[in-house]
Symmetry: C2
Amino acid sequence: MSTKKPQLRLGAFLPSTGHHVASWRHPEAQADGGLNFQHYKRLAQTAERGKFDMIFFADGVAVRDRNQGADVLSRNGKLVHFEPLTLLSALSVVTENIGLTATVSTTYNEPYHLARKFASLDYLSGGRAGWNLVTSATEAEALNFNQEKHMEHTLRYERAKEFVDVVTKLWDSWEDDAFLHDKESGIYFDPNKLHVPNHKGEHFSVRGPLNVARPIQGYPVIIQAGSSEDGKDLAAQTAEVIFTAQQTLAEAQAFYTDVKGRLVQYGRSPDHLKIMPGVFPVIGKTEQEAKDKFDQIQELIDPVVGLNLLGSMIGGFDLSGYPLDGPLPDLPETNGGKSRQQLLTDLARRENLTIRQLYLWIAGARGHRQILGTPEQIADQLEDWFVNGGADGFNIMPPWLPGGLDEFVDLVIPELQRRGLFRTEYEARTLRENLGLPRPVNQFSKVATREAAIA
Amino acid sequence: MSTKKPQLRLGAFLPSTGHHVASWRHPEAQADGGLNFQHYKRLAQTAERGKFDMIFFADGVAVRDRNQGADVLSRNGKLVHFEPLTLLSALSVVTENIGLTATVSTTYNEPYHLARKFASLDYLSGGRAGWNLVTSATEAEALNFNQEKHMEHTLRYERAKEFVDVVTKLWDSWEDDAFLHDKESGIYFDPNKLHVPNHKGEHFSVRGPLNVARPIQGYPVIIQAGSSEDGKDLAAQTAEVIFTAQQTLAEAQAFYTDVKGRLVQYGRSPDHLKIMPGVFPVIGKTEQEAKDKFDQIQELIDPVVGLNLLGSMIGGFDLSGYPLDGPLPDLPETNGGKSRQQLLTDLARRENLTIRQLYLWIAGARGHRQILGTPEQIADQLEDWFVNGGADGFNIMPPWLPGGLDEFVDLVIPELQRRGLFRTEYEARTLRENLGLPRPVNQFSKVATREAAIA
């Protein structure tokens, strides 16, 4: 198989009704999708039919209602939805091979709970769990957890770094072959293969051990999405997949080179971190049909919703006092997601967009790359970035669901397969193996080598 | 249907390999059951075939290893297992009618996470979720959550009371009919039916609203198991099911009368709290066969395990210095589960048991009621308590799994059905309806009446 072309990786990023801000109003969207298990079952099985590496759920522990009056809020179709770990656990039963990944914040969780839930999901799914580590970016979450404001950016990343350290120690509490289940002797496990982490650090004191055996994958796959300097450093040290928002091949190449170059100092191979920019595809039989489809959903955006979306994407800044058809004003620096604000400001300046044009522009992909076209045109774009050092794969963001995913699986995936760029069958049962990532060696095991351990 | 006999309620309490301390060594036990989804799927489907009201999982956020050397610990077959909310979510997909209930501690969790996960499970399962509220009783858990010792008993219960208050407010964030999903107008929900809890109390500041709609059951069914004065008071105020350990009918009647009598002061009907003592059944074709089966599993207990079990059941007291065939010494008061220590001390004095006899006695039911006999004898015992004001139903604790549950469903359930004491088909789809419990009215709704709200 050494002559086989390099294979690209695909994630299916599946928010309830789709990625477009007006997705729930689309005729083909499941408007109550957020709390409809049959809807998610269909999505997961469709993604698996398309041989996606993984499905992915974003998450936050609050209703994101900042700066929103009832008029805006009541038009939002994405406020209520399943908690992702419970949802992924249920989906593990109706799928066989696809990875099951979701966001959990290190700022509003405890490492013991997180290590345990992902280990449990890894056992339920036969080794298909993945954790997208975020530090959270909204004050609404702080207010649900006994705090008056959001933790400061640098401190959040310090906490996150120690959090990963604790979580991996907990996953390493038991060696892979610790459990003997020997009914005859009465010995259930080998006590030499139990390691009590006894972690005492700046942010956490966690004795352990974990009350789940070492995950099937060693560690569930660790994903990150931060593009700040702190974020890229943490990713270089600990992440195995990065989801990122990149607009042009040049930007994507710069990001790719930057992040991959940071791995060496942590003794890691560049192959052991997969960079997967987000892509929002609108698919048509012709280019014109794709454009018409896009126009159709753009027309469903109520102006109060568009303006508010833009405000929240640039850090919670209230734009209601500025003319819709005028330029984006200069923005104060925020404590939230810095990289996204910068990205949108750059875009507005570069393309000379008004506020209205900018909100229409982000309404779909929310800062990610939009591609409108035929299946061949979309495959061309993906191949271009993949073969030219801009990406190891892509996180596909369907505009509306389930229709947008169906089209990608039925039209674009076969085109990628024809080109030899994407699998026609899963290589393995675990997410880690399908992604081509090494299984981490237990850090407490006597045979552990520094090179093989990812943490 | 008014002539139908009152129906008893049944829970299936399902720890990985069974309730007996040596259960995992039993020839019919699934030794790796704690992390084996196929095992749990079989258990849940068997319980549903038997028309049980619910399955139930106990839980703790630590490996319970206090006072245990490697020699004891390595013989323990119950240290690692699924996290219960992920497991119940997966089981929701392979069952249709049975209730899905599990323990989550109020001491080592945040109300927002808990409200959200149970609401999510309620949607995944079509209204079958139940929460067993505990305040935790082991120091091992404190050490996994940045604390040096376990929170004091009274403070734990104060926190628990406020915790329930916050959780029910979060579940009431949205009225039942808040979501319109109106694609035409673009209005997703009626803003008058959103209620932001804005809770500020002694232990918690939680703004809300919850990012899950109001659970299908209004609230998932709330279960408790505390038998201390604090525990009984909290249950009278907030619980809808109580699991309890009672040895004799007279004790059970006293507990039943005591707890039911406390409900009036909170404006609640005695029917709205179901009292379900634990029962550990050993079933034989003859009484002698049942006794032989029990002897068989008792012989599998290693003495170091039995002694350690007793020590931990009486509050973490080290008994290794006392003669195995001598009496239980006087015990110091502990900060853990007070009621269980008292129950065991009373038993040892009443029956004049040595330390060895006491550990053999608790090895099975761990303080709960053991019944050895034929299906008819077991049904007689359950009927006796049920018709004489000792219980509304029972939480069945199979000695080993899956065999012990299979026998109960195949032999005892049909006998209870023949007597007209137990359903032959589920009455409804939700746990709350099957248990005959009222659906709580939203406390923020303008039509809410004090009587109908349970919180």
